[in-house]
């Protein structure tokens, strides 16, 4: 089945499925309440037998703020399918878990939770995976400062220069700190990470339960 027909069919079968702009592989948007149903259909009827990757994007100021991105692979068709699902709540983002469909989603979803704080409803063991239990930040959220978070044992030289009691993170104070975006002037490397200054206070620590 050609890729175009696939997307058209999925759009017809699920009312929340919409085409997503793409540069490489076919891509669709789906709303959270139909995600599990869609994934099951993709696996059982459309031969997307492998879940390659689950990740998320933090759009910072856009609403909805968080999007969970799935990449499915069909060995038979020989292409990927990107499924994007916006999280409904921006403050406590949530998404349905698909661990019961793909065992491999277990660690992927834990990683997304660890890095973005997106709670996967129905996950059997949703706890931190790369960071340690009790760590109270979500490092891949855009507001998390590159310089790192405040600590009682800061690096002396960095603390002196930046007036921030942090452990020096990679790139802190380095000459190559650039910002993503279409404007070239913003892409120019800055002297140090300015994401946490007097103008922009450090983020509130979110307490894990």
């Amino acid at each position: 089945m050609p890729r175009e027909t696939l997307i058209k069919e999925l759009c017809l079968k699920f009312d929340s499925v919409q085409r997503r702009s793409n540069l490489d592989w076919p891509a669709i948007n789906v709303s959270a309440h139909q995600l599990v149903e869609l994934c099951k259909k993709l696996r059982d009827e459309y031969a997307f037998d492998m879940l390659m990757d689950v990740t998320a994007v933090d759009w910072e100021k856009e609403r909805p703020r968080f999007t969970v991105i799935y990449h499915f692979l069909s060995r038979e068709r020989g292409h990927y399918l990107r499924v994007a699902c916006n999280c409904e709540n921006d403050d406590v983002p949530e998404a349905p878990s698909i661990v019961h469909l793909w065992g491999g989603a277990n660690w992927h979803e834990r990683e997304v939770y660890d890095m973005f704080g997106i709670k996967f409803i129905g996950h059997p063991n949703l706890k931190r995976i790369l960071m340690w239990e009790g760590y109270s930040y979500y490092p891949l959220r855009k507001e998390f400062p590159l310089a790192g978070i405040e600590t009682s044992l800061p690096a002396a030289d960095v603390a002196e220069e930046t007036q921030a009691k942090v452990i020096a993170a990679p790139m802190m104070g380095g000459p190559f700190c650039s910002k993503p975006g279409p404007y070239m002037s913003e892409a120019e490397p800055e002297g140090k990470d300015e994401s946490w200054t007097e103008k922009q206070p450090k983020p509130e620590a979110e307490v894990n339960e």
């Binding site: 994007v57 990107r82 065992g103």
Partner: protein
């Protein structure tokens, strides 16, 4: 009391005490610093005697926040960080990353660049598998194999050093090409290396493949069924050992892999022995690919000459021409300019499919870069396959999965 009676007394006492301990579960912590875990992997084990009841891998000890770092630097600046993902095959990571970004830019690199990339990718595969097999031999008690494979690997590293200037952290590719053309005579030296490689592989074959101890340690140990392999997103040799014929180089060819003639080895059982056999055969097939690539090495440019906003011009031109000087300045300060959009690319790396998902809002810096490490997925299957095995099977199963923590933790 005679001697005989006394010993009987002791035996009965012990067996009584054994009854006391029956069914008692012991929790054992293995790692994160343990020679069998090949890096900083920690396993939480629940043992009933010698039998594993439950296994929970604890990862993250090598987490460096590569994805966060990538959001704050230009595309080319991130190339050295890819070295440190699967640090046993840095060249393959470099190539996969470069192709991912080139797909975002919709940029086609010249034939010669593709051929060079294929050669370095396959040499990286040979290097990674040589280490994998050697260390695997050591995990099962065959020390000699390690010495043979490391001798060969050392020769490869000399070649890498000549090509890239570094033995380990190569940072060879750039977006739109490679850092430099192959040095004069390098290809024939690679050929010399290949001539010496196959006899060594045959020798390892005679040392391990029919070795009774090795067979008993690996056959029907750590069996991964086809279904499980698919469920957990296993890729690369681990997937193929389970009997699934899927190789990205064959099925979705990139960098001109469709021109080369090679076989994809497939396992039947999916046990530790099959994973070893698949790796051995992949070394031989990689050797074939490298030979073909050297044979047909096309002439011409080794970087995309027309991609003025992406690839830094050669040094002599920068120093003599104003236009190239400006081009160089813009590229170094602002990075190669990319369109907005998102791409996902996976390359067939020695450990499996390494994927890069890049979200761009335009400009020289990615908005979000996600790395899909094959080792991450390979390790996620441990809680599934470990239970029921003996504690002494742990190093064998871990070794057969051939993971690397740099890529798992990122």
């Amino acid at each position: 009391m005679s001697k005989h009676q006394k010993s009987e007394y002791v035996t009965s006492d012990l067996s009584q005490r054994e009854e006391e301990f029956k069914g008692e579960i012991m929790t054992l912590n293995m790692g994160p610093s343990h020679p069998a875990t090949h890096g900083v992997l920690r396993l939480l084990l629940e043992l009933d005697g010698d039998i594993i009841q439950k296994c929970e891998p604890v990862i993250g000890y090598l987490h460096r926040g590569d994805e966060k770092i990538a959001e704050n630097m230009t595309y080319n600046q991130f190339v050295p960080y890819t070295d440190r993902l699967d640090y046993l095959a840095p060249l393959a990571n470099n190539v996969t990353y470069a192709i991912a970004v080139e797909q975002l830019a919709n940029l086609e690199v010249p034939q010669r660049c593709q051929a060079i990339r294929v050669i370095v990718c396959e040499l990286a595969r040979i290097s990674s598998h040589l280490l994998g097999i050697g260390v695997y031999g050591m995990d099962t008690g065959a020390m000699t194999v390690f010495l043979y494979t490391f001798t060969e690997r050392e020769k490869l590293y000399t070649l890498f050093e000549e090509l890239t200037g570094a033995r380990f952290t190569t940072s060879y590719t750039r977006i739109g090409g490679v850092a430099r053309d192959v040095p004069e005579g390098w290809l024939s030296r690679v050929k010399n290396f290949l001539d010496g490689l196959l006899p060594v592989i045959d020798e390892i074959d005679t040392l391990l493949t029919r070795n009774k101890i090795f067979l008993q340690r690996t056959e029907h140990v750590g069996v991964i069924s086809k279904e499980d392999a698919m469920q957990y997103g296993l890729t690369g040799p681990n997937l193929r050992a389970s009997g699934i014929d899927f190789d990205l180089r064959k099925r979705m060819p990139y960098s001109g892999y469709e021109q080369y003639d090679f076989e994809v080895p497939i396992g039947t059982v999916g046990d530790c022995y099959d994973r070893y056999l698949v790796r051995m055969e992949e070394v031989r097939q990689s050797e074939r690919i490298v030979r073909q690539a050297i044979e047909r090495m096309p002439d011409g440019p080794w970087y995309a000459e027309d991609a003025k906003k992406i690839f830094v011009p050669p040094k002599p031109k920068i120093m003599t021409s104003m236009e190239e000087l400006i081009q160089n300045f813009m590229l170094v300060t602002e990075g190669p300019q990319m369109p907005a959009g998102e791409v996902y690319f996976e390359g067939e790396n020695p450990k499996g499919a390494l994927g890069f998902y890049i979200v761009s809002k335009g400009g020289g810096v990615p908005y979000r870069l996600k790395i899909r490490g094959p080792s991450f997925c390979s390790l996620s299957i441990l809680p599934k396959i470990m239970p029921g095995h003996m504690a002494s099977d742990i190093p064998v199963i871990l070794g057969s999965l051939d993971f690397v923590m740099g890529e798992c933790d990122r």
